[in-house]
């Protein structure tokens, strides 16, 4: 066992940790907020409010 073996184990552990953090947050958000709100984004809102595309 040398430092590279330890780094391999550390990479596995960190990968599992990051994946768990992301998945837990995703589940938490999905169960806390209404899906209508989460998917309420609309394309082109800036154009409607600020840019009129007029010369």
């Amino acid at each position: 066992m040398d430092v590279w073996n330890y780094l391999e184990y550390a990479a596995w552990v960190l990968s599992a940790l990051v994946a768990a953090i992301m998945l837990i947050d995703l589940i938490k958000v999905d169960t806390t907020y209404d899906n209508e709100l989460l998917t309420s984004s609309r394309e082109g809102e800036l154009e409607l409010t600020q840019e009129r595309h007029e010369l």
């Binding site: 040398d2 430092v3 590279w4 391999e8 184990y9 990479a11 596995w12 960190l14 990968s15 990051v18 994946a19 953090i21 992301m22 998945l23 947050d25 995703l26 958000v29 169960t31 806390t32 907020y33 209404d34 899906n35 709100l37 989460l38 998917t39 309420s40 984004s41 609309r42 394309e43 082109g44 809102e45 800036l46 154009e47 409607l48 840019e51 009129r52 595309h53 007029e54 010369l55």
Partner: protein, 464 residues
């Protein structure tokens, strides 16, 4: 469900507008600069030193056309999804669906290729330090997951990170060039092969080299994906994109010059990490360390930018119901397309862990090439339907239709070059997109809210 939390949240969630021109530059150049650190040199292997330079500049011309065309259209269609949103408004739904897929496939596969490269780099370092048989898998997985998490947490942090590491990788190339010119290298620059063996495989070698010439610039069009997150799209997007292509033209020419001068073309044509190898040839330890870090940073920046772009394209398609609307969600706190980011992680991992590097990159290049071909038709239709003076444009590219025609011509030549080396993959890729188009046309399009997808408050197109 926590009612208290829901009532405190805004009524409508959107992506956060926090980016400036520097972030746009970092996104575009960040995705691409890895091509200077590896990959471009196979063009030298295909046709010799001159062919490598011709490929560098012809591909540079192609991408200058891409950057000019993209800057004009995207400064007008400022929406996440970039070319997908452009196709939706200008050409039609089936084209938009295909362009969305081109984008997701090109960026996800490039992300996978970058993760594979980081594993390879670490294996190389471990080998140099006396450790053999490094298991690359945990490092590949960690790269993809850590960068996905960074993107999940917010676009400002992820693209500020890209700005720093991309700038470092670019400056490393400049330092290598200046050091070599001022005699730091133990080996002098040698361009004798230019006269001794100008075209070892003839003009066909020059055409074949075009395929790998794309590596110098592949992905600069990714700047468009930030359209919905920049503070001033009409100004920042053209500025960031044009500054990006200028940076890459400089970096590409310097890279060819230093590597071709220091490394014999027969070796350069097969090198895994040409800039790092050039630094090793100089015999200067500081340059070696600098270019190794540059290689690692360029690769990381590319993977990071690819996650950003692929997730925005996937998110936009979900928001328009071209894909299940579940993907069109925005994180209430971080304001990122979090479901799309998480969904694309296993897909990137499948390619990174289960497919060979050259195949992954070839599929990425082919998807990109199909996207560039779309841009030519898109530009003609855009100028015909909404001529100059009919809508506000943040940037107007000069000499239309010349850039679009040049782009179409070079795309045709590059298809031929790809067919010479990867004909089976080209046909397989086209079959995949045809099957996906049939699925969209006969099944998926019934779920699309047809009136809602056209969001730009433009006048009626000319002729309609």
């Amino acid at each position: 469900m926590s009612n208290a939390t829901v009532t405190e949240a805004p009524q409508r969630l959107g992506l956060l507008r926090v980016l400036g021109p520097g972030h746009v530059w970092a996104l575009g150049v960040g995705i691409v600069l890895v091509g200077e650190y590896m990959g471009w040199n196979f063009s030298v292997g295909k046709g010799g030193m001159i062919a490598g330079l011709v490929a560098c500049w012809v591909a540079g011309l192609l991408y200058t056309c891409v950057a000019m065309i993209d800057s004009e259209v995207t400064s007008t269609v400022a929406a996440a999804g970039g070319q997908y949103a452009q196709a939706k408004h200008i050409v039609g739904p089936l084209m938009a669906f295909n362009v969305g897929l081109f984008l997701v496939m090109a960026y996800t596969m490039l992300e996978a290729a970058n993760a594979i490269t980081i594993g390879f780099l670490l294996d190389t370092v471990a080998g140099m330090l006396g450790h053999t048989g490094l298991n690359q898998k945990p490092f590949i997985i960690l790269t993809i997951l850590a960068l996905a998490w960074l993107n999940y947490r917010g676009v400002l942090a992820s693209l500020s990170f890209n700005l720093v590491i991309t700038a470092f990788a670019f400056v490393a190339i400049i330092i290598l060039f200046v050091s070599v010119k001022f005699g730091v290298s133990a080996v002098p620059l040698d361009f004798s092969a230019v006269t001794n063996e100008p075209l070892p495989y003839g003009w066909l070698g020059v055409v074949a080299a075009l395929h790998f010439g794309l590596w110098y610039y592949l992905g600069i069009e990714g700047t468009c994906q930030a359209a919905e997150e920049v503070r001033s799209p009409a100004r920042s997007l053209p500025f960031g994109t044009m500054a990006g292509i200028m940076t890459l033209l400089i970096a590409a020419t310097l890279t060819w010059y230093v590597c071709s001068g220091l490394i014999p073309w027969e070796y350069l044509g097969n090198a895994g990490t040409p800039l790092f190898d050039a630094a090793r040839v100089t015999g200067n330890t500081s340059l070696m360390v600098l270019l190794f870090i540059g290689t690692a940073f360029a690769t990381t920046a590319s993977a990071n930018g690819c996650i950003n772009d692929a997730s925005r394209a996937w998110f936009s398609m979900g928001r328009d119901r071209y894909l299940p609307s579940w993907f069109g969600a925005v994180h209430p706190r971080y304001r990122t397309p979090y479901r799309s980011i998480v969904f694309l992680v296993p897909i990137a991992l499948i390619f990174a862990l289960g497919a060979p590097l050259d195949q992954v990159i070839t599929f990425s290049i082919l998807s990109g090439l199909l996207g560039y071909t779309f841009m030519t038709f898109n530009m003609f239709m855009f100028r015909r339907k909404w001529p100059l003076g009919s809508i506000k444009r943040g940037y107007v590219h000069p000499w239309h239709p010349l850039p679009a025609l040049v782009l179409l011509l070079i795309c045709g030549a590059t298809y031929f070059a790809v067919f010479l080396g990867y004909g089976t993959q080209l046909i397989a890729m086209l079959c995949f997109y045809i099957i996906a188009s049939l699925w969209f046309h006969f099944w998926r399009y019934r779920f699309v809210k047809r009136g809602d997808q056209f969001t730009m408050p433009w006048p009626r197109p000319q002729g309609y």
